[in-house]
């Protein structure tokens, strides 16, 4: 039995996840609305074994097709891949594809902001902080609302350094697992709080904001972000 539908109802990433989790042998084909271009992805034993978009085959084809947003698709069971061009776990392919997608959005500032950017922007409007950012543990800035004079990349690098040193220090001084780092300066504060397993919230405050209020808002915001990031 074939499953048919529109890519506006279910995304390519979701279709890949669905087919990989079922573990069945299947072929996903799709036609892009904008130009009629076609793609095919073959699944076997819970992995993507082959993908083709135009002349592009293998991993690059998967990264390309993750960008597709509108079109029709069909999934047919029991169709064997003509060849094997992919040996990477499907989850790694999706992660890398989404990372590239984010990178494209960073490079093209005219593009719509990501859902995370929008959510962060809404949060920032209500919070007493001068700026907030979400960073991954390795210092990549996932989203940021910062005062104009501050550079995103610099903030990410500094915060990641502080995170890693704090985590090591808290262990060496036998204080358990790192939860939060707060640095107070004569002209403001920096608060770094874990937001889920993989990210951290960085908040910048001026001297007017009380430490109690800053902690309260940082904790609430980190919890919301952890929810958004699904960790």
């Amino acid at each position: 039995m074939a499953l048919k539908g529109s890519l506006t109802d279910i995304s390519i990433a979701d279709l890949i996840q669905l087919n990989c989790q079922s573990g069945a042998q299947a072929r996903l084909t799709a036609q892009r609305a904008s130009d009629g271009a076609e793609l095919s992805v073959y699944f076997d034993g819970g992995e993507i074994v082959h993908a083709q978009v135009g002349d592009v085959q293998g991993e690059e084809a998967v990264y390309e097709l993750l960008l597709w947003q509108a079109g029709t698709f069909e999934v047919e069971q029991g169709i064997r891949a003509p060849t094997r061009t992919i040996d990477v776990p499907w989850s790694a392919l999706i992660m890398e594809g989404l990372r590239r997608l984010d990178e494209r959005q960073v490079q093209a500032p005219a593009a719509a902001p990501s859902a995370l950017e929008r959510a962060l922007s809404e949060m920032a409007a209500r919070l007493s902080f001068q700026g907030i950012a979400v960073i991954s543990r390795d210092g990549l800035v996932l989203a940021a609302e910062l005062p104009g004079q501050l550079d995103r990349a610099r903030l990410g690098a500094i915060a990641a350094g502080l995170l890693s040193l704090s985590a090591r220090s808290v262990g060496q001084l036998q204080r358990g697992e790192l939860q939060q780092t707060v640095i107070q300066g004569t002209e403001g504060k920096i608060i770094i709080t874990h937001a889920g397993e993989t990210a951290a919230l960085v908040a910048l405050a001026d001297t007017q904001l009380s430490l109690g209020m800053a902690f309260l808002e940082a904790r609430e915001t980190a919890r919301q972000l952890a929810g958004l990031l699904g960790t």
Binding site: L150, Q174, Q179
Partner: protein, 126 residues
């Protein structure tokens, strides 16, 4: 008249009094900017030299970070862990004051005691 107390004794006594009189602070150390311990009153399971080295590292990175993110001059760093806190602040020009607390403490009180401790240490060191 008793001989004037040595500076090292004064310092040790100040730290001892602070820790024994506090319900929140479990241990304190005074360290030089290059990570050497000047005086300490720490729980026995903690190695003094390690505390000095770790705290100096935090102090140095915090100082740089606060400048680069345009927050003025470093006043205090707090690191919160699931089992307790580390508070580091300057004690005069050439030393830092480190305080360790357990978990679920009155942070406001711990800050106050840390500031007072750092102030006393700064006066003793001159």
């Amino acid at each position: 008249m008793a001989a004037p107390q040595k500076r090292s004794e004064q310092l040790a006594e100040t730290l001892r009094t602070l820790v024994s009189g506090s319900t929140d602070i479990q241990g304190v150390a005074v360290i030089s900017m290059d990570g050497l311990v000047i005086a300490a009153e720490l729980p026995s399971k903690l190695d003094q030299a390690r505390v000095g080295a770790v705290a100096a590292g935090i102090l140095s990175l915090s100082g740089r970070s606060v400048g680069q993110l345009q927050r003025g001059e470093l006043q205090q760093t707090l690191i919160q862990g699931s089992d307790g806190n580390v508070i580091i602040t300057h004690a005069g020009k050439n030393a830092a004051f480190v305080a360790l607390t357990g978990k679920d403490v009155n942070l406001g009180m711990a800050f106050l005691e840390t500031r007072e401790g750092a102030q006393k240490v700064s006066e003793i060191l001159g």
